[in-house]
Amino acid sequence: MYRYDEFDHQFVRERTIQFRNQTERRLSGALTEDEFRPLRLMNGLYLQLHAYMLRVAIPYGTLSGRQMRQLAYIAEKWDKGYGHFTTRQNIQYNWVKLEDAPDILDALAEVEMHAIQTSGNCIRNVTTDHWAGAAADEIADPRPVGELLRQWSSLHPEFSFLPRKFKIAVTGAPHDRAAVKVHDIGLRLHKNDAGEIGWEVIVGGGLGRTPMVGVTVRDFLPQHELIGYLEAIMRVYNLYGRRDNKYKARIKILVHEIGADKFKSEVEAEYARRPHPTTEVEERELARIAAYFAPPVFEKLPRWSASFEEAKLANPGFARWAKNNLGPHRVDGYAIVNISLKPEGGIPGDATGDQMRVMAELAERFGNDELRVSHAQNIVLPHVKRDDLLTVYQALDKADLAAANYGLAGDIIACPGLDYCALATARSIPVAQAISRKFADSQKQDEIGKLKINISGCINACGHHHVGHIGILGLDKKGEEFYQITLGGSSAESASIGTILGPGFAGHEVADAIETILDTYLKHREAGEEFLATYRRLGPKPFKEALYATA
């Protein structure tokens, strides 16, 4: 993974000094809150319901054991002993003090981390496939481009005061685990017949108040043209994106309002107008970065591990975890380990300092010292030998990290919601907990199979409910919490926005409603058919009837 050189170090150090100075000026009154707000947001510091919240960037969701340990240290020293992993591969601390924030940023800089641009109307964390570099179906690792874009977008002078936030995602596999079609810019890696790499450029996807799937503006952009082309897109957005209405200020609205064709022609005209560095310039930097993402040295192992197979026979809990929580690795004898942060009845995505250290140690000892954060608020050890899986499982189990529900009904994605967030209209975590308890039975979860339940506590959709197979949106109806259910969303390559099923439900009714929906699915599904496929085949009708039929 990427390692800072002296310039990266100096950059982050100066940035923390700059923020310390800005914080002092705020506390002394030299800066007003209106002047300070964009500055602290561009360093990831929000003012929330109970305290400040700091969102730390985990670039393309990748971190080392050492970095994870530092996150644990920060949680214990300056917060209340835990952190929350988010749907954009970042981590959030909920109880931060403004006067401590500069020290926290210093602690992050020590391990090559930062909170730069995790909020504000600027380019946010570039996210990617949490299985990058390991997945069996991957064409090429997208993370060198993720790092290239991270640097390019950091304190970009032209694009730091955009009409609104800007989110970029990249993927290197045909099965899209990075939701590129619902990002402001999504980049999909392709290889042509000559074996050359090119990027499909997708613009104008997004969730929130007006969810939309993005449009492709380029099918096969050569890598060395990426920065030049993206700058053209950013400039068109910066100049022509709406600034009159916060809810119509994303690039998806611009693309929608002027039309995809007009948008593309504006971008191409801007691209043609501008001077560009030579091909050689871009390729040099890409090559330098790519060297850091050279694959680990894998052992030459047989496809099947005898000890792994035997352990499964002897240990049903392990067998179930292995069945549900492992991803297919491209190298024989290895597996991708998905650590669920969704214990039964727990808070999705939360981990204690101790748990972070357990995961760090497992990565260091068995995982090539690499961890990932997934969009489902889970942690991934991308490179683990099958021979080591039992040991890893046992350590996870001791730390309450072995929930065998990855990708199943219990693996619920939920934003912090009204329990923490000042923007929320309703709580999301209690709903997640109720559903989790209702489907606690492992056989039931296995029977239901692959299912994405996403819960957002407000229209901003940080829980990505629009792209949940089952989406739940928390609203406020006359001061009471109230939940709308959507079905059929997907963030994969055949992306779709969920459709609202009907009238909403009170908080205590939601888990029962989900049960009714899933019973309907089980009743109607064809052999081996997953929930999303059944829904797409049947449409909402049978689900509506089951939910809203009068007794």
Partner: protein, 113 residues
């Protein structure tokens, strides 16, 4: 016989540490919602808001706003669950926030809320 007073209070976040606080009769900011001063008339509410704006300028608090609330027998309850949570802490972590520090106040949250 006790009566419920209905009115408005002011809540804000303390600038230094972000903790949600409530404006008291004495003009300082308390973490305990029962100590909040309740304005029973619109004019009084406007006066509270003005005091809050002053304190914002003095870098004591930030993000102050008025909230509907009621007081009964010395306990204060905010009308909306958001502000009840500001007074107590997250409903999903009863071991965190004011509720765990002996500063949680107001009406006890009904079961299931």
């Amino acid at each position: 016989m006790t009566t419920t007073e209905k009115g408005q209070l002011v809540t804000a976040n303390r600038l230094r540490d972000g903790i949600a606080v409530f404006l008291t009769r004495g003009g300082d900011w308390s973490e305990v919602i029962d100590e909040a001063v309740l304005a029973l008339e619109p004019q009084a509410a406007a006066a509270l808001e003005a005091r809050a704006r002053d304190d914002e300028k003095k870098t004591i608090v930030t993000g102050a706003y008025l909230v509907d609330a009621e007081r009964l027998e010395g306990r204060v309850r905010a009308a909306h669950i958001r502000e009840r949570m500001r007074a107590l802490g997250p409903t999903v972590r009863l071991d965190l926030g004011k509720q765990s520090e002996g500063k949680g106040a107001g009406f006890a949250a009904p079961e299931g809320e």
